[in-house]
């Protein structure tokens, strides 16, 4: 497994997630009480024995940089290889912008890095997927198939059709057609995870960059699919894609389902995240809690129902929180009442305030707000 190199694309903020991505990319949105979304894919890589991972940065990557640090929390702080931050220098220079137009352009910007990697194979993935994946099996399947590219896909549609890539499978078991950016879904949807050899990847980049082609799905899979054998590798376990505020809310609430938790949090394939020094969570004498997912370091003295509390959240006496997601270090003062609220990091809700959203339109409090 030493022979597979990980590349993660951290996408630009999505308009549908505006409030949560003002200061960060999707990859660094807090999720599930203590994680950032990138933790899932990064842990999947590490659990498969991948030792070297390059993270292609987009604009607003400061929060991601803070989160990843030296990579130590994922055991990726190495002298050789390990976690490498790849900032968007190339585009910043060329076009005065820190955004790339597509994966192939982004890869073109780190061509020298790719040339120097120690492994023969590369796995490309986005960072907006919440799933616990058997990457080692995918790699084995790729090697066995002998195909040029292995595309990990699912039978259960999970993305909005306009941003997803779909495959038709031919009689030979290989991908026979590719649909992308349409409004119709096929039942075989790409998880946007691809395995191919380093040498093929380099030649694809060469071709794309010199022909001003930028997208992996449109320009490589669709555009060059006739000359490439694409092997579909199916994963039909739990997977969620975070593409809008409502999806973020509803996918978070799914964590109350024990089967979802069992599928995401497997002792043999742990999801690692940045460590903090938080002690255990303290429940005070008047705490009333029902259906809650609570991280370490909270002090809960009020009422919590059907909610997700991140690390270091404080719920003071008499406060009541229902159907909420409160991110790290949020503080809810005495007698405040919150319903269907997503509070970003370090929000303070003062005594006696009452804030209500609806499940179909949760109220979002921006990072650091004091209400």
């Amino acid at each position: 497994m030493n022979n597979l190199h990980g590349i993660l694309f951290t996408y630009q903020s999505n308009a549908n997630l505006r409030e949560l991505t003002e200061h960060r990319t999707i990859a660094s949105i807090p999720y599930g009480g203590q994680y950032r979304i990138i933790d899932f894919m990064l842990s999947n890589f590490v659990n498969a024995g991948i030792t070297d991972v390059g993270v292609l940065m987009h604009e607003s990557y400061q929060s991601l940089l803070d989160h990843l640090g030296s990579g130590k929390d994922w055991d990726l702080s190495r002298k050789w290889g390990g976690l490498k931050i790849l900032p968007p220098f190339a585009y910043a220079k060329k076009r005065g912008s820190g955004e790339f137009r597509g994966e192939m352009e982004a890869l073109g910007g780190v061509y020298t890095y790719l040339q120097q990697i120690r492994q023969e194979y590369v796995i490309l993935s986005t960072c907006d997927l919440v799933a616990n994946l058997p990457i080692a099996d995918f790699f084995e399947s790729h090697l066995k198939s002998g195909a040029d590219i292995t595309a990990v896909c699912t039978h259960t549609p999970i993305a909005a059709p306009e941003s997803a890539t779909y495959f038709s499978i031919g009689p030979d078991g290989l991908v026979s057609d590719v649909l992308c950016g349409g409004h119709k879904s096929l039942d075989c949807e790409s998880l946007d995870i691809y395995i191919l050899s380093k040498s093929l990847l380099l030649s694809l980049i060469d071709y794309c960059v010199s022909h001003n082609l930028t997208s992996f799905s449109r320009d490589v899979l669709l555009g060059m699919g006739h000359s490439l054998s694409i092997h579909p590798c199916f994963y039909d376990g739990y997977a969620a894609r975070i593409q809008s505020k409502t999806a973020y809310y509803s996918k978070s609430i799914e964590l109350f389902d024990p089967t979802v938790r069992a599928s995401l949090f497997r002792p043999d394939q742990p999801i690692r995240t940045k460590d903090r020094w938080d002690p255990s969570t303290y429940y005070g004498p008047d705490a009333q809690v029902e259906d809650a997912l609570v991280a370490d370091g909270c002090i809960i003295e009020g009422t919590v129902k059907n909610s997700i509390l991140f690390r270091g959240v404080r719920i003071k006496k008499g406060a009541s929180v229902e159907n909420c997601i409160l991110m790290q270090d949020t503080s809810i003062q005495e007698d405040a009442v919150l319903r269907c609220v997503i509070a970003d990091k370090s929000v303070t809700v003062h005594s006696g305030r009452m804030l209500m959203g609806h499940e179909s339109y949760p109220l979002v409090l921006a990072k650091g707000q004091s209400v």
Partner: protein, 403 residues
């Protein structure tokens, strides 16, 4: 590479007064306070005090402790020079190795390790106290007093002083006499078992002590008195704050309960002096619809569907519907099935309490002479509806696999 001050942590104690809790692990590795092990307190104190080189002297069940410490990442002690090192008594060339004879002998046997860092000062710590302390203030006091040895002391109530090693000091807080558990204590300054020595002096006394066949090779019993007799300057450093010896079942249970009364125990939520620890990678804990909690600590990976009061739940504990946990300490991996009742008990790692079983009892419900905290050793399984009386001390009889 020279270091000004290094710490030597005496973690060799078997902690036999913790009975079932230490039958499989060394005392410093006993879980404490929801997330920690006892050794996390002195280790974190070192790091927070700017001491980045720590030798951990261990002999009893070293594998578990050694595996817990690893290369020291959780404490930021994975250093290029220095860091944390486990020092078991090893077998030297041509000789049969032996366990450390006493605390002083343990340091003596590791003088080679100490010399690697050529320190000016050596801090001697033990692995059985819960406290937060800035050792750099202790070091400053040592330097200011120009002492050969500085001892950290705590003012204890005069009536309890005869239970401690008492330091009698002059007006400058310089020790002129040391009395071990005096019947008529002259002062209430109790030694906390935390010493800082000027290394060149300590080295000299350790060598002399080793050559003395009459010595029990102990700091308190031999080295400190020898230094005092020889007229070395010995300073006292007054510590104030929470400090608790967790050497007995009752004091261990107390210290855990202290944390629950937020203002009395060691202040875990104080960010200015964090206590670090190694925890497995676990998701947040979950409180089910039927779970109720009050005055309790709950950690990562727990699933609580029962009633938990005045208790400490370590990681990965599961409490079934209808189960009741009161005034108890549940160590990692404990499973309490439906409708079981656990009161005034300490359940070590991976114990399993069957449906409707009952462990321990509240003091009001039993005659005082029969009451005590019930303790289940690691891996103990209690069958459905079985009753474990208060004060019980059960160990797993299951034979462990060969090695």
């Amino acid at each position: 590479m020279k270091k000004e001050c290094i710490a030597m942590l005496l973690a060799g104690g078997q902690g036999s007064r913790l009975y079932a809790l230490t039958s499989k692990v060394a005392k410093p590795a006993v879980p404490f306070g929801g997330k920690y092990r006892i050794i996390d307190f002195p280790l974190s104190n070192c790091v927070n005090s700017g001491i980045d080189t720590v030798g951990v002297l261990t002999q009893y069940q070293p594998l578990e402790l050694s595996n817990y410490i690893g290369i020291g990442q959780p404490w930021d002690l994975d250093r290029t020079v220095g860091g944390v090192h486990i020092l078991p008594p090893y077998v030297k060339e041509g000789s049969k190795g032996t366990w450390y004879k006493g605390t002083a002998n343990a340091i003596y046997q590791n003088m080679g390790f100490i010399s690697l860092y050529d320190p000016d000062y050596v801090l001697i710590l033990s692995g059985d106290h819960i406290y937060k302390m800035d050792y750099s203030a202790l070091l400053a006091r040592h330097k200011q007093a120009g002492a050969a040895c500085t001892i950290s002391v705590l003012e204890v109530p005069m009536e309890e002083a005869s239970r401690f090693g008492i330091m009698n000091v002059n007006e400058d807080d310089i020790v002129y006499e040391f009395e071990e558990k005096p019947k008529q204590p002259k002062s209430n300054l109790a030694s906390m078992g935390i010493y800082i020595f000027t290394w060149s002096k300590l080295r000299e006394y350790l060598i002399a002590d080793e050559e003395n066949p009459a010595s029990s090779n102990d700091f308190g019993g031999d080295v400190i008195p020898a230094m005092l007799n020889a007229g070395e300057i010995m300073a006292a450093y007054r510590f104030s704050g929470y400090w608790k010896d967790v050497g007995t079942i009752v004091s261990f249970w107390d210290a855990n309960m202290d944390i629950l009364s937020v203002h009395s125990g060691v202040q875990l939520y104080d960010k200015s002096w964090p206590i670090y620890c190694r925890t497995p990678t676990l998701p947040p804990h979950v409180i089910g619809q039927t779970g109720t909690l009050s005055h309790s600590l709950v950690s990562g990976g727990c699933e609580v569907c029962g009633k938990v009061e005045n208790s400490v739940l370590f990681h990965s504990v599961s409490v079934g519907e209808g189960a009741k946990i009161r005034y108890s300490i549940l160590m990692p991996g404990t499973v309490v099935e439906k409708d079981a009742i656990v009161e005034y008990a300490i359940l070590a790692e991976n114990t399993h309490i069957g449906q409707g079983a009952r462990v321990g009892a509240a003091p009001c419900n039993v005659p005082p002479e029969d009451w005590g905290v019930a303790v289940l050793g690691s891996g103990v399984c209690i069958a459905d509806h079985q009753v474990v009386p208060p004060k019980a001390m059960l160990e797993s009889t299951e034979e462990e696999g060969h090695i």
